[in-house]
């Protein structure tokens, strides 16, 4: 037992140096070559940082494309989902309220066309994306407020749509922050 204890302590110290000091420093060092230097890639508009490329942010105004509901109000220092079960009556009331609000702000949209992602909270509370369908369904509202044609917005969403990986794997997505920045540049 005594020999085991001495070996255990010594082996632990060696492993601490290898795994906790050397390994993370090597990763951090090489990651300096990555986009954003391993600090997280930021997005700049007119020389001002307006967000992180991957982190969703709240868009509640009608003049912007809205992202998904967030259980933590897009708090990027406290990510979480709602953890509401599918049968929870209070939760279903919340979803109903979101549907009603959406219909008030998008009066031309049929209820049966609202995609679930726009009235359900994401897993992280920081989902940066929506599907192209969920973006385009907001076109009429934004077109009216900004005096743009719905056609032009349709085109914008298509431009901002990221297809499946290699064209083969996974869903198509639209980054809401990038979409709204592009929207602001439209005349």
């Amino acid at each position: 037992m005594k020999t085991h204890l001495s070996t255990a302590i010594r082996l632990t110290l060696v492993m601490l140096v290898l795994l906790v000091v050397i390994y993370p420093l090597v990763v951090a060092g090489i990651a300096r070559l990555a986009p954003g230097s391993g600090k997280g890639e930021t997005v700049t508009v007119n020389g001002k940082i307006v967000g992180y490329k991957l982190i969703g942010q709240a868009f509640t105004q009608d003049r912007y494309f809205n992202g998904r509901p967030s259980a933590v109000d897009y708090n990027a220092a406290g990510s979480a989902g709602s953890n509401k079960g599918p049968s929870n009556p209070d939760y279903l009331k919340t979803v109903q309220a979101r549907i009603d609000t959406f219909l008030v702000h998008n009066s031309t949209v049929q209820k049966s066309a609202i995609p679930a992602e726009l009235v359900t909270a994401s897993g992280s509370g920081l989902d940066p994306d929506v599907s192209p369908t969920a973006a385009k369904i907001q076109n009429a509202r934004i077109a009216k407020i900004r005096g743009l044609s719905a056609e032009r917005l349709n085109q914008l969403v298509d431009e901002q749509t990221k297809g499946p990986l290699l064209g083969l794997f996974g869903p198509s997505t639209v980054n809401v922050l990038a979409l709204n920045i592009a929207l602001d540049t439209l005349k």
Partner: protein
């Protein structure tokens, strides 16, 4: 939709295609045969010299268990100390507080046993020091412990009769230098180049396009997220785990993280086949486990793609499926797939919130953890499978009137007693634990804990019961995923799951290693026409039946009270 199916199929296919050559490689590494990574040998010798390990000494099973348990105690003390004082120790740029004693106890054990149940959130409950020196460190060493223990077991299948079964320290070190460290480095860099932070900078503050001020948590996360999957650990750097956009930035990283967590558990099965030169036997095990996986996966996918019936009644569209707790960049299909893989192989990382899974999916996730041997964690999966194997050999031996034997060694009363005790223990821990929690919830509703029992549950009725059942099941299976709505950071959950974690880890290691040690000492009787062959489909079917009877049926009443009741109430 087609591309989503292709994504899931590719994730599985790549994992299996990598696992076969990797299994061969692992077998060579653990036998000490020449491999491509022999350039690590000088580093290993250096580690042995500093650590005081004799590379050539073979130990018997009791010595190996003593070595394994002693070093685990050292790790626990180290982790507990760091967590208790993390608030005043360096590398705490966000100024997070120290963990309370009961939380530190739970966190230390949880990572020590490769579970990674987290009763804190990474952004606010840990520091960069503890994320690296406690969580990430334990991820490496607990995975290597599991792998070493499984290889000790492999040795007992070999025909040579021996007192010794190998050297824990050597197997442990090689697991790190030949598998986990190089593998993690590659994965960490893929993640870093796709947007996962790796630098030591603290929180950043930004003003969004709409004008809100937001803090953004960061940190050296990439390295930890790599070993979190490769070692089937599962603990997240951020609270939302692999649903967080920095922890899992895009579909590519999702595929990488998914393949990383699957590849070693499957490779270990093939490694066994190569190690003892019984490839057919490895394919039988793989077949049984894969059928088990599919039986859990298919209903989950169907129910998630179908969407939430309660939301359908509100009259909106669910074009992709159920979206609560899921991320758009993965979609319901890849999320459903992940939720089953992470529960059958004991990773417990999540890319969607299981608490918001459909009721039937919740039942499948629970079942995956209850069986805990369909692939299973690195090493731990095979250790769990081993006691099903021993029981099956015994039962089928009795059915056909032959002496139960496994690879030329008689399986007798002592081995069966150990295997049965291990098998029964998990049912006791999960159901006993959940019963205790439900009792406290009813009887001591208002006790003055940090989270009062009356405030534990985030959902009413059947789903609330499922939250408690899931927590206990996850602890016993050393899985680490959760129905995270549960208010679990209080003395009851921290302490009760802490003890369940310990028993759920070490008993299934000690049991099989002890059986293996006992078997290895027995006389080898060459196989003859009187031997029951174990590498046939018939025997595979028998193992499957034993697994179903031992686990699925013994847990059925609990499932009926929780997710199944919810499922039928939703119709």
């Amino acid at each position: 939709m087609t591309t989503e199916w292709l994504g899931v199929i590719a994730m599985y296919a790549v994992a299996v295609l990598l696992a076969i050559p990797l299994g061969k490689y692992l077998a060579r590494v653990f036998k000490g045969d020449p491999t491509l990574t022999d350039f690590m040998k000088p580093l290993e010798r250096f580690i042995y010299r500093l650590g005081g390990v004799s590379e050539t000494a073979d130990l018997n099973w009791k010595q190996n268990l003593a070595a394994l348990l002693t070093i685990n105690v050292v790790w626990f003390l180290l982790a507990f100390g760091f967590l208790l004082f993390q608030g005043i120790l360096p590398l705490n740029p966000d100024g997070n507080p120290s963990q309370t004693p009961d939380l530190a106890f739970n966190s230390a054990i949880s990572f020590l046993v490769n579970c990674d149940l987290q009763h804190y959130s990474g952004e606010s409950g840990a520091t960069y020091l503890t994320q690296l020196a406690v969580m990430m460190f334990l991820m490496f060493v607990s995975a290597a412990t599991g792998m070493a223990a499984a290889v000790l077991l492999f040795r007992s299948f070999l025909p040579e009769r021996s007192e010794t079964v190998g050297n824990f320290y050597v197997l442990f070190t090689r697991s790190i230098t030949r598998v986990f460290l190089p593998g993690s480095l590659v994965i960490a860099l893929i993640l870093a180049f796709n947007g996962t932070p790796a630098s030591f900078d603290g929180k950043d503050t930004i003003v969004t396009l709409q004008g809100d001020t937001v803090n953004v948590s960061r940190g050296p996360a990439a390295g930890m997220i790599a070993i979190k999957h490769l070692g089937t650990n599962g603990g997240g750097w951020f609270g939302a785990n692999s649903a967080h956009p920095l922890e899992n930035p895009n579909y590519l990283t999702n595929m990488v993280e998914m393949i990383a967590q699957m590849v070693l558990p499957i490779a270990m099965i093939f490694a066994l086949g190569f190690f003892i030169n019984r490839k057919r036997f490895a394919w039988v095990i793989y077949g049984v486990m894969t059928v088990g996986m599919l039986l859990l996966l298919i209903p989950t996918i169907v129910t998630e793609l179908h969407g939430n019936p309660a939301i359908a009644q509100l009259g909106i569209a669910q074009p992709t499926g159920a979206m609560e707790g899921k991320e758009v960049r993965f979609g319901p299909l890849a999320s459903a797939y992940w939720s089953i893989i992470t529960t059958i192989i004991s990773t417990g990382s999540v890319n969607s919130m299981h608490d918001s899974s459909m009721a039937l999916s919740g039942a499948m996730e629970l079942l995956g953890m209850m069986v805990n041997a369909f692939y299973g964690g690195v090493g731990a999966g095979l250790l769990n499978f081993y006691y099903f194997l021993i029981i099956t050999v015994f039962i089928s031996g009795l059915m056909v009137g032959r002496t139960p034997e496994l690879f030329g060694r008689k399986v007798e009363a002592r081995e069966i007693k150990i295997a049965s005790l291990v098998a029964l223990l998990s049912a006791l821990l999960v159901k006993g634990g959940t019963a205790l929690a439900a009792w406290v919830f009813i009887q001591y509703n208002n006790v003055d804990w940090v989270v009062k029992p009356s405030a534990w549950l985030n959902n009413p009725a059947f789903h609330g019961f499922s939250e408690m059942l899931y927590e206990m099941t996850s602890a016993n299976a050393n899985n680490g995923s959760g129905f995270e709505g549960l208010g679990d950071n209080n003395i009851f959950w921290n302490v009760s799951t802490g003890f369940i974690l310990l028993l759920g880890r070490y008993v299934p290691i000690i049991g099989p290693v002890a059986i293996a040690g006992l078997l290895a000492k027995k006389k080898y009787v060459p196989e003859s026409s009187g031997t029951l062959p174990v590498d046939t489909a018939t025997f595979g079917l028998m193992i499957f039946a034993v697994i179903v009877i031992l686990t699925a049926l013994s847990f059925f009443p609990a499932l009926a009270l929780g997710p199944l009741a919810e499922y039928f109430s939703l119709k």
